[in-house]
Amino acid sequence: MLNVKGLTKRFGGLAAVNNVDADFEKGKITAIIGPNGAGKTTFFNLVAGTHKPTSGKILFQGKEINAMRADLVARLGIARTFQTTHLFENASVFDNIIVGHRLRTHSGFWDVMVNSRRLRNEEQICRKRAMEVLDFVGLADLAPRITADISQEARKRVAFALAMATDPEMVLLDEPAGGVNPDETVGLSELIKKMVVHGYTVGLIEHKMDMIMGIADKIIVLDHGEKIAEGSPAEVRSNPLVIEAYLGSEHAAA
């Protein structure tokens, strides 16, 4: 589904991502782990078009998407969540989600001026889609609540819902379980598995090893921007390079 070759990103002198190859298979969960500052988020930023790669190739469904603008990547079907979610705090959860489907609509300025039928239809579609995805992530009940009032875990689910509202093929999740307690983490794992069952391909960054080991089909390990290991959870767990990278780092995995 997503194939990355020799991907490199330099910030000034620092190679945040260095010559990384990676393949994300359709309908699978591919996890990226690594110590803080390893370049995981940067990797997602490159794939999603937030940053331009210094060099390398990114193929999505066989189509080259390196250096494509982020909004176009989203249109092609790659959605993402961020490490910290910026939601519109003073609006309802439902309101926050509606705009997620905007990229699949076509109404422009003149539709707005004359309040065209197309606009009204598309607004209905966006609302319907918002309700569907909220239902999917298990937040239908929270729809009318003010976003500022909901829990950290619920925010993560809102972020999932937003990503899904864009009708993606693939979803990149950046630390979806960050700041969430162990029980809730299990719930989020379930949700991610459910997404796969429904045909989404998932890319996942996480520090929580039990979660990763439990749900990932494949794990890619980054350290200092380089890929140091790759394989099934069992393979990665026993890889001496990985153990060293984590022990050598002061921020061992939580």
Binding site: G12, T50, H51, K52
Partner: protein, 290 residues
């Protein structure tokens, strides 16, 4: 005057302007580096500096240099007050709020000065009125004073930032807020210190420039906008960038006014900005792209 002398005159003009702009831009860039706020009220601080000195010199008959120190002190205190009362409470506010608050401070300071001194233009007597020539270039002593004073201050600031603990803290914080607070730097003291320095620099620049210029409540408008252009050129937060940028704008104006048109000389800086930002949206010396 021969055309070569005229040319040197323009260089001298450029240096004078560049010195003043550089000092103002330095304060602005330091504050930006520390707080990431474009301090729109900085021009008002500059203006208040000129008026305080004017008051001390003309109304109280105090010596020019003492007045300069007095003005620097008053404006430094104003700067610290605005940091404490306005910018600190807004540290975590959404991005446009601090800018609006800075505009509020600007409007307030201008209105207060207007209420006390009115809107008229005033002339501050120059402390030294003789002509001074260096080589072939003759100019009023005040111009040489501006250049020498600015260079001296810039050197002093450089030493302060490099050699003292407080100074290197400012540099550290300007480069990386989180990193600096990790090593246990007291961020709020540094912020106050920075505002004090920035205010004092603006006041000194104003007092140096005032004798060959006019003193009036709106005198800060153009200067602050040019200072913004300068720190964008030089990289927001960069000290050498502010000095270099100040000189670039100073020279562009002095030569532009002479060889192109005096009417439009004030536009030159802005046109430069528009052109540069059109091609480099992140400024001249930053390598940031996405």
């Amino acid at each position: 005057m021969s055309s070569i002398d005229l040319f040197f005159q323009q260089i001298l003009n450029g240096l004078t302007l560049g010195s003043v702009y550089g000092l103002v831009a330095l304060g602005l860039t330091l504050v930006y580096g520390i707080l990431h706020v474009p301090n729109f009220s900085h021009g008002a601080l500059y203006m208040v500096g000129a008026f305080v000195a004017f008051f001390l010199i003309v109304d109280l008959g105090i010596n020019y240099w003492v007045a300069m120190i007095g003005a620097a002190a008053v404006v430094a205190i104003l700067g610290v007050l605005s940091e404490r009362l306005v910018f600190t409470p807004l540290r975590h506010a959404p991005p446009i709020h601090d800018k609006i608050a800075a505009i509020g401070v600007l409007l307030f300071l201008e209105a207060v000065i207007m209420a006390i001194w009115g809107a008229e233009f005033r002339r501050m007597p120059a402390p030294y009125t003789e002509m001074l020539s260096i080589g072939n270039v003759a100019a009023p002593a005040q111009r040489w004073l501006i250049i020498a004073g600015a260079l001296l201050l810039m050197a002093a600031l450089h030493l302060f930032l490099k050699k003292t603990i407080a100074g290197s803290t400012i540099s550290a914080l300007a480069q990386n807020r989180e990193g600096a607070s990790l090593v246990g730097i007291d961020a709020s003291r540094v912020a106050m210190l920075t505002f004090a320095i920035s205010g004092a620099l603006a006041a000194v620049a104003a007092v140096l420039f005032a004798p060959i210029n006019l003193v009036y409540p709106a005198m800060g408008h153009l200067v602050i906008m040019k200072a913004f252009v300068i720190i964008i050129l030089g990289g927001m937060g960069s000290v050498p960038g502010a000095i270099l940028g100040g000189m670039i704008i100073g020279f562009a104006e002095s030569f532009g006014a002479f060889y192109i048109s005096t009417d439009y000389k004030d536009i030159i800086a802005f046109v430069l900005l528009v052109v540069i930002l059109s091609f480099r949206p992140n400024g001249l010396f930053t390598q940031g792209e996405r």
